[in-house]
Symmetry: C2
Subunit: 455 residues, 2 copies
């Protein structure tokens, strides 16, 4: 029994099966931690950080491990600090439209709990039934509804977090407004667990929208779907989701989990409107007219069950594609919405010239494309070519005024590319900020920045 | 002619009248700069920063000087760097709902320009016809519409800024989503010109709301107005403004600029709804019923002219109160909306027990109260008592889970109080972040943090 087990009885494991399970995440990468700790409250987190700080042991905070860029892959011998047991919804303040949660609360659980109070938390990453809100904050998670409602950052009012040396900080306010000192709250949002361990989160929530309409628009070509997106937005309509699936994605989903999507469709938009019934009915009609003019076919979900089924299809995309090609390389570029059709064309050209299949789906409404390079890792030559292709995709993305990561962050998998987007002076500032919080580089070391890598 | 004039011909002054004019701001405080520079573009800003960095001269970035906490008051002998001439709207991207502006563009000018394109930038500080967007970003300005639309921070996608050593950085993205490295953009938002000189701003804008309804609700008592706010919100209605004026404020406005407000009213709410006509008409009726049940009287603005007049009254509040008492102490506390009536009661009690008149108005919808202590600076004893009262007001604000500044920031006037809200560990992080950006403490020195004061 080591002294961490004495400090935290019943909350620590060094069993090989635990070290294995907590060594990998959705990125497909693997590491080998020395210890796994399941903290149950902030005091436990403080104990872990003090312990590790005294001994110079790295700590990797971990929510549900649904991250796509390896943000929770442990450095060898490190302590994986799981927030899974910190899963209490501490306060739902209906009068002030705020909630206070522990970091390990599952996004989908909060969604359902809020609905019972007629409240609404918009950010909905596809992994919402598994991922934790702490992880959402650490990665600044997005989701389908970002086109209308923004991302996690836009809902975080304040945080409690534990610094690498074990001191607890609280940031932000309980109110919509607040300008007292620098914005430590948003500095922690999206910092990928490298600055502090987030323990509690104060979120802004909204009144539940009065009603929702869900539409499926099927197109015979990519161009028409891209054009439909542009026309919908330029009508002044802001749907709450405007999701895009290309033909390969549609087929993969149908093969994985037969839902009844027409396999011969070239592109599909999953459109959802929310708001007062009179307004969304009117907007749904406008959208229908726009899509039909572009030879699109419109299917409207008749009831909640049909609606759930459509979303089931959308959320099955990621596992379905993994099923198709376990070694696929998955990126999450964003381009300004108006460049979305051009980006899809450029991706198709790249796929044709390279011979590597590129499957695309994502959030057309905000220009966020999940680009999947379907490769076989055993084929060394092809895999190397795919790596080059990723670089070229990022180059084009930046040429079109986009960003190389909309939702997944940098983690380990995008470290080689961060300098394509972030110039040296800005990177230097970021690294110095890392040093301010974590001078000994013990908290999630080796993530985001190449030169701080200690794996 | 000093060498700064040689570097920037026609853009530099050391004339006493300029030094006087650029020595004060809306806080009523004064300083005495050594030089005033009117930069015309980023290159000019770079020249100033390099010049000052080489010589160890402090630089104070300045928009329109409308700040309330002395954020632009120059350290003695410093260079005041005005962005007034950096006033170009560089891009209005209607397809992607973004704009790119120089830091010196006036908020109201952008608002009007956007309206012509059927676009909308929500943040509307009362000084919108004078204040610059650079200043808005530096202070994270709020405004009346924050209750529905949030504050400046929620609209800043990316920035160009010049570091104290003269290097130019660009932060953020042109897209709604983006998680590549730490969020330098929001770190600069609200940093009160202490980290970098903001030169260009990429803002998110929205489609112009279809229609607007403006209502005035008059009440015989403070309690009823507070209760009305709670009932409106708990109906699930989110007006775009929900402004509050107490009886003293109403009388001050009427005396300053007779608009026809009934002087015998104890409290007034200025309520504005925006959205599709059918929805806001329905909501306006609901609000009307709520207010009448609380014995309120409802006046609806019949046309755009009437609407403008109501807003003219609201925006005249600040000058009107200055007119009443030039030495007034003006704070901008925020409490969670549900504590708004309690805060008003506590303020009334404090006023009665201290004998100092406290006049309140503000943004009831988000709990942001502009608390004005009407004092005579010549009366030393009263002024000292008022200072004590401010501290007590902040103590109560924090007791009610609020914040000591919703919109105005810390600047100089709230430095003595920042540690009431921000604990030592967080303050230490902030000061270290200041050092990361400005190791020689040359950019707007002495603001926000007491111990960095070099005035």
């Amino acid at each position: 029994m080591n002294s961490l087990s004495e400090l935290l009885p019943g909350k620590v494991s060094t069993e090989p099966e635990d070290l294995l399970c907590y060594g990998f995440d959705a990125s497909g990468l693997e590491g080998r931690p020395g210890t796994v700790v399941w903290a149950e409250d902030t005091t436990d987190v403080v104990k872990v950080m003090r312990y590790s700080h005294e001994r110079g042991i790295a700590v990797i905070p971990r929510g549900a491990g649904t991250g796509m860029t390896g943000g929770s892959i442990p450095a060898s011998g490190a302590i994986v600090l799981s927030t899974e047991r910190m899963n209490r919804i501490l306060e739902i303040d209906k009068e002030n439209f705020t909630v206070l949660v522990e970091a390990g609360v599952i996004n989908g659980r909060l969604q359902r709990e809020l609905e019972r109070h007629r409240l609404f938390f918009p950010p909905d990453p596809s992994s919402l039934n598994f991922c934790t809100l702490g992880g959402n904050v650490a990665e600044n998670a997005g989701g389908a509804r970002a086109v209308k409602y923004g991302v996690t950052r836009d809902y975080v009012l304040g945080l409690e977090a534990v610094l690498p040396d074990g001191r607890t900080i609280t940031t932000g306010v309980k109110t919509a407004k607040g300008v007292v000192g620098y914005d430590l709250t948003r500095l922690l949002v999206g910092s990928e667990g490298t600055l502090a361990v987030i323990t509690k989160i104060r979120l802004k929530v909204l009144p539940l929208p009065e009603d929702v309409i869900t539409l499926l628009a099927l197109f015979g070509g990519l161009e028409q779907s891209g054009e439909a997106v542009q026309r919908i937005i330029s009508e002044g309509i802001v749907p709450r989701t405007l999701e895009f699936l290309d033909s390969w994605t549609i087929r993969a989903v149908e093969n994985y989990k037969s839902i009844g999507l027409p396999k011969d469709t070239e592109a599909l938009l999953l459109i959802e409107l929310d708001g007062p019934p009179s307004v969304i009915t009117r907007d749904a009609e406008k959208i229908s007219v726009i899509c039909k003019k572009l030879s699109g076919e419109i299917i409207m979900a008749e009831n909640e069950l049909a609606r759930m089924k459509l979303w089931e299809a959308r959320r099955a995309v990621s596992p379905a594609l993994f099923h198709l090609s376990p070694a696929k390389i998955n990126e999450d570029i964003v381009v300004p919405r108006s460049r979305f059709p051009e980006m899809l064309r450029r991706l198709r050209d790249l796929s044709e010239s390279s011979g590597i299949r590129i499957v695309n789906f994502g959030h057309a409404g905000d220009g966020n494309i999940h680009v999947n390079l379907m490769v076989d890792r055993a084929d060394k030559e092809q895999y190397a070519k795919a790596q080059e292709l990723v670089k070229e995709i990022f180059r084009i993305t930046l040429e079109l005024e986009g960003t190389i990561s909309g939702e997944h962050g940098i983690g380990l998998t995008k470290q080689n590319y961060i300098s394509m987007e972030v110039p040296p002076a800005e990177l230097e500032l970021m690294k110095k900020i890392k040093q301010v919080f974590d001078s000994r580089n013990l908290l999630n070391p080796g993530k985001i920045f190449l030169s701080l890598c200690s794996r």
